[in-house]
Every structure is written in structure tokens, then in C-alpha cells.
Symmetry: C2
């Protein structure tokens, strides 16, 4: 049995709590947040606390608070030499106070309050300063069905950065698709199956192999037509830059 204390009550903390709570070999001993409000509804399932001095002994303490608050919260912990991990892609493992045994338990996924999350679709990137602490974090991830990967801080930074490209930036391309279709009275909904299929393809074909379209073919007529349709200068700039990027990748860039 692995005992865990969760600190924080946001998206990640809440999803982790639910997953651990269902897992057979994990017990969530306490759930801390600086205010009880978001966790008080769980008080029949777990001891909820808002006072760090009441923290009990556990195998792993998981700090799932905003990036900027991780270091400070770790300093305030009223003990030493226990295993404390954060869940951030962008924060170093050394940002946790050095009186503690330190690690990272980074779930490489996008969480939102409402949507359920199956942790088998959440790769956990694990880092520890002391090798000995690795196995318990791995066991913890496995207990909720997650694939795991040992990832050092540089790799984690780069994964976090890549996540911005494939998640935030991709979502902004969807948003632009939404804006330009609605501006012509066309339905964004018609694009949803294509959005889904594009992501599905990436699961088994490399993005290099999957690429198609006017940019890759250097179909100048279509590109010109598209730039004419686009009214928004920022959308035009994005169109040009990503077209160029595709052409660089596929060796079809002819300069312009």
C-alpha cells in the first residue's frame, strides 16, 4: 500500500485524487489546500485540511499547485527528508526545498475540471534526485494505469515546450478555423471529424509522412487564393509562416 498526501485543489490535484482513490494499492491519507472550500465536498472520502502543521506521515507528498507557488509551499512543509514531488512540466526538480527528498511526477496531458480522464492516456514523466525514490513513483503511476517514463529536467522542459505546440498552438489553429468559417456563414462543426482524424493519424503515422495539402505540394495557385480569402493580417502571417515551415520540412520551399 502506498500512502499519499495531495497538496493543492486544482485540475491536476482533483484528477489525481479521484484516480488514487479508485486504485487498489494507494491510500490518500490527507488532501491539503490553502482553503478548504474546493475540497470540503470530499470530506467523507478523505481527511481534508488547510493547516500544514496537521500533515501526517506518508510515503509521497504531491504538490499540485500553480507553478509559482511550488517552491514556497515546499519550504513551508513542517518536516524534512520525506519524498515530495511536484507535477509541473516547467518547474525544475531543484525548486523544491532542499531539506526534502525531491522528485517530479509530471502528467503529460491536458486536464479540465469537467472532463473525465482515464489515466491510461496520461503518461507520467518521472524524475527523482535520488535513484531510490524512483520506484515508488513508478509504482504509484502504474497503480492508476498510467504509462511511465524516466525523464530528466532538460527532457521534461522540452516535452513541456512541445506540449505547447501540439496542444495550445494546435488549439489556436482550431480557433482560427472557427473564426474564418463563421465569418463566411460556414459551420465550424463540419471540421470536427477532420480535426479528429488528423490527431488519429498522428497516433500511427509520423507527422512527416502524414503531411498533405497545398503547402507541401507548393501549389501556388491555391496558396494565393487562400491568402486572398484571409482578411485578418495575423491569420495571413500564420498562414505564410506555417506554409514556409512545411515547405522547409519537405524541401519544397523555393524562396519568396
Amino acid at each position: 500500500m502506498i500512502s499519499v498526501v495531495i497538496l493543492g485543489a486544482g485540475n491536476v490535484a482533483t484528477h489525481l485524487f479521484k484516480a488514487f482513490n479508485k486504485a487498489g494499492n494507494v491510500v490518500v491519507k490527507q488532501w491539503y489546500n490553502r482553503s478548504l472550500k474546493p475540497i470540503v465536498t470530499y470530506k467523507n472520502e478523505v481527511e481534508v485540511i488547510d493547516d500544514l502543521s496537521t500533515l501526517k506521515n506518508a510515503d509521497v507528498y504531491i504538490i499540485a499547485v500553480s507553478d509559482d507557488a511550488i517552491a514556497e509551499l515546499s519550504e513551508q512543509l513542517p518536516f524534512e527528508n520525506k519524498l515530495v514531488v511536484h507535477t509541473s512540466g516547467g518547474v525544475g526538480v531543484y525548486d523544491i526545498d532542499k531539506k526534502l527528498k525531491r522528485g517530479v511526477f509530471y502528467p503529460l496531458q491536458t486536464f479540465s475540471k469537467d472532463a473525465e480522464m482515464d489515466f491510461k492516456n496520461v503518461p507520467i514523466c518521472i524524475e527523482t534526485i535520488d535513484k531510490k525514490d524512483y520506484h515508488i513513483l513508478k509504482a504509484l503511476a502504474i497503480s492508476i494505469g498510467s504509462p511511465t517514463k524516466k525523464v530528466n529536467s532538460d527532457q521534461r522542459s522540452v516535452l513541456h515546450l512541445a506540449a505547447v505546440f501540439v496542444n495550445n498552438f494546435t488549439n489556436q489553429l482550431y480557433r482560427i478555423g472557427h473564426e474564418i468559417t463563421e465569418s463566411e456563414g460556414a459551420e465550424f462543426d463540419l471540421l470536427k471529424p477532420l480535426i479528429f482524424e488528423t490527431a488519429k493519424k498522428a497516433q500511427y503515422i509520423s507527422p512527416y509522412m502524414a503531411q498533405t495539402g497545398p503547402a507541401k505540394r507548393n501549389d501556388k495557385k491555391t496558396i494565393k487564393k487562400h491568402l486572398k480569402i484571409l482578411k485578418n493580417e495575423q491569420h495571413k502571417a500564420i498562414y505564410k509562416l506555417l506554409t514556409k515551415s512545411i515547405q522547409f520540412t519537405h524541401g519544397t520551399f523555393k524562396g519568396q
Copy 2:
């Protein structure tokens, strides 16, 4: 029973042939291509031809050849006043020779040779010059399980353009994710569940509501760190431009 002749033997033609061939109320009378080679393997299922003068009578002729070849092929058809449609997002309905009854049957999806395609995930955008021709195309789409939408040429152009954003450009963001992870010895595979989840979210939450991340939060520290990690100038430019675009959308842009 709707009788159809398919012209062309590429991705779209092949997927349409298979779907029509399975449909209860559609008969593919002939399959034409300028060379028999890619279609000869289907000769037990359909009459395959490479000579336009042997074309038989049918309710609908579907030209699924490269955009540039549509007009010319339609001119060469040895009959008048029959319903001929193309399958392109980027070609006007008037590009089909005017001796014919003209229309468009545009499948808004990305097809590839190997991957199977369920046509319930392929919205068909229909346009006809003569209203009377609309219903047979709609019936044809319904027979293969596709949702349909009446779409005029301007709307179709804009859908095609939006498809470039959500398909080609998104796929290029995946590619960049691939490049930057592999360059640090991190695994692109770890991003695949996130890619999938991002597209899944877009099925039921608007991209506006779904957005998260450092750009939206205007988290300057993380943005600066990311720009430092990026070595490739083009990747940097894309990062900056899409960050700015997100900030414009969400009103968090503070100048730079």
C-alpha cells in the same frame, strides 16, 4: 437505385468506390482512369475503363482527379446535360464544362491510401447549379452514411482554407513537436495521448473555451524559457506568432 460512374483512381476515388460498393442502393456502373493500372485489381467488382468513349449512362459522374485536371477532363466527356460533380474543396463549380449539369460533392476529410475510412466521419459538402440536382447527391451521401451540408462556393473555399489550418498546419505543429523532442532525446510518443485529447476536446468544447497554457496566461517567465530552448529560428517565429495570436484572442496581449 442510384447509378454512379467514378473518374479517377486516387485516394478519394478509391475510398468512394469502396463505400458505394458496400451501399445498398448505389451501383457503380464503371470506374474510369486514364490508365487502368491502379484500378485493374477491381475488375471483378466493377467495369474498369480507360477510354472515355466507352462511358455508359449513369445518374451521377464523379470526377475525383487532381484539381488541375478537373476542367479538362470534364470537357472531354462525350455527352451533354448529365450530372457531373467534382470532389474538390478548392475548385469552383463553374470549372466543370458548361455543357453539363454541374455540381460539387466535396468530402471534408483527409484520406490516405492505407487507412480505412468510415464515411459517417466524412461530411459531404454539396453544391449544385440546378436545385433539382441537389437531392440525388444528398441521397448518394446518405447512402454511404455521411452527414451532408449544402454549401455554396464561398463557404466551400473557406472550409477548404480552414481545413488547411486544422489539418495541414496542425500536422506541422505535430512535426515541430517531433523535431524538438527528438533533438533532446525525449520521446515524441509521449505526446500522442495529448494530441488525441486536444482533438477530442474540440469535439464538444469551443477552442476558445478549451485554451490553456502560458500564452493565454501571459506567463512571461515560461514564454522566455521556451524561446531560450528553441534553437531553430523558424520554430521561434512560430512560437512568437501563435503566442501573440492566442493573446489577441483572449485579450491578454500587452504589446511586446
